[in-house]
Amino acid sequence: MVERRRLLDFLPHLILIIGVAIVAFPVYVAFIASTWDAATISNGSMPLRPGPHFAENYYRTIFVGTSSSTREPVGTMMLNSLIMALTIAIGKIAISLISAFAVVYFRFPFRMTAFWIIFVTLMLPVEVRIFPTYKIVADLNMLDTFAGLTIPLIASATATLLFRQFFMTVPDELVEASKIDGAGPMKFFVDTLVPLSITSIAAMFVIQFIYGWNQYLWPLLITTKDNMQTIVIAIKKMIVTQDALTEWQLAMATAILAMLPPVLVVVVMQKLFVKGLVETEK
């Protein structure tokens, strides 16, 4: 920067450190709460340092479950969330890859119609069509199934647009070289196009995994059985508003467990995550 004064040099750090602290504080509090016992928390005397009940609380949360509101252990729910997130992420990527491939690399009647049909879904988020969609899933007998939980969320205009955009940048000569090398469309797709798209696919995966894992409204409606619950909806059910029965230490342990996988994905795959965010907003 242009100025070379010490105060001006330090001030930004100070502001950033305060910012980071404020951003981290809620999670820190949750973590602290997850290491104390119910009594300490509910009488409002929880200190701001870790307590002695870490192992006990997490063991109970993962393998046993809370005593009242949700009877399933959180371990099962995490598994459900994982299956849901992976199915949604992989499903979205798979069907978007092939539809972008069709739209970009073939000429056929109603090509643009198909493209627009997919594109317009951007304007139909699940929130605005929630009950009619619920009714269809119910009519198809897909309530309380992973299919019902995931398939309606698998269509993706965003991913299709992203892959289409990427495919447009792949040089035509590669297609021609493949043709001369005796590769048909599907062989070109598998041998060349998909390997070339691998960073875009990975970036998309990071974004869609987070999207899938954090689903709330949809699983709330579609799942009624305890053993189909995902961790994100379970945590809300653990909090009995205006009720001292809430086992806050377990709820907070669940909250920590619920954010751990997506946060890890973002931190570990930061580059891909940023790429995915930036590219899906083009």
Binding site: S99, T121, M123, V128, F131, P185, I233, I239
Partner: protein, 293 residues
């Protein structure tokens, strides 16, 4: 833009498109169509007969004060979240941009809340501000400030605004930082040589150059507040107390849940669809402009 080189295939492209189109038609267009159709119908109390009533459902909807209340709530909620998350993110991004060396480290420390589920964010903030045991509300009580989001609407609103802002800062920070780093350093150096002090430099040079990013983020944030904060509200306040935090999206859900007025609920959905279409249109106009630059 079109590819010059393509493959031949009559059936194959349709097969490739089939899964996406099938899901779209069954789970997007059909229910959306249902909602539109439903919004023109009135069903009797037993669901035995339906009648086509044109815009009656809409007239009823727009004659209800609570619908205007939910609109107002949405407007307040959106503007507060947009304002706070954009200004805080911009403040942090500008600081990080001053120390490029550390920028990526701060980036890592600031972006992760994006990955936290809205419902989880709601619970985290609820816990801190829980009137009897929350760590922040207790300190406030000691300071002589009675805090109770379970009883007071404005406190509840502040709670969801804080939770929603907290989650959105990371996203805005990323884009602001990228926007700042795209401003050529020579422009800022030229301003410094022209005698502009840092604060003045920010408002006369950097902020105007950043305005496309800001505008883009504004639209994205409004879309976010409209649709992605459902989990925060449901986890932290359930739209309460006394519907004080019931946004339009939350109202569709809670009205639909309680059942009964199918037509009215559908009309609400259609109004939301119109809003999304408008927001998307604005977003794409922006993208078009960006391409021209």
């Amino acid at each position: 833009m079109e590819k010059r080189v393509v493959f031949n295939g009559k059936l194959l492209p349709y097969l490739l498109l089939a899964p996406q189109l099938l899901i779209t038609l069954v789970f997007f267009y059909w229910p959306a169509g249902q909602a539109v159709l439903q919004s023109f119908l009135v069903q009797d109390a037993f669901g035995l007969s339906t009648e086509f009533v044109w815009f009656e459902n809409y007239q009823v909807l727009f004659s209800k004060p609570e619908y205007y209340k939910s609109m107002l709530t949405t407007a307040i909620f959106s503007s507060l979240v947009a304002f706070f998350s954009l200004s805080i993110a911009l403040l942090l991004a500008v600081q990080a941009d001053r120390h490029i060396k550390f920028a990526s480290g701060y980036k890592t420390l600031l972006i992760w809340p994006y990955a936290v589920a809205p419902a989880v964010a709601g619970v985290l903030w609820l816990f801190m501000f829980q009137p009897s045991l929350g760590i922040v509300s207790q300190s406030m009580r000691v300071a002589g400030f009675e805090w109770n989001p379970l009883l007071r609407q404005d406190h509840a609103m502040m709670l969801v605004v804080m939770a929603a802002t907290w989650k959105q800062i990371s996203y805005n920070f990323l884009f602001f930082l990228a926007g700042l780093q795209a401003i050529p350093k020579s422009v800022i150096e030229a301003a410094a040589i022209d005698g502009a002090r840092p604060a003045r430099r920010f408002w006369t040079i950097i902020f105007p150059l950043l305005s496309p990013t800001t505008f883009f983020l504004l639209v994205v944030n409004i879309v976010y507040v409209f649709f992605d904060t459902f989990g925060i509200i449901d986890a932290a306040t359930q739209g309460g107390p006394a519907k004080g935090t019931e946004t339009m999206v939350y109202k569709v859900y809670s009205d639909g849940r309680s059942g009964g007025d199918l037509g009215g609920s559908a009309a609400q959905s259609v109004v939301l669809m119109v809003i999304v279409i408008a927001l998307t249109a604005i977003q794409f106009r922006y993208v078009e402009r960006k391409v021209q630059y």
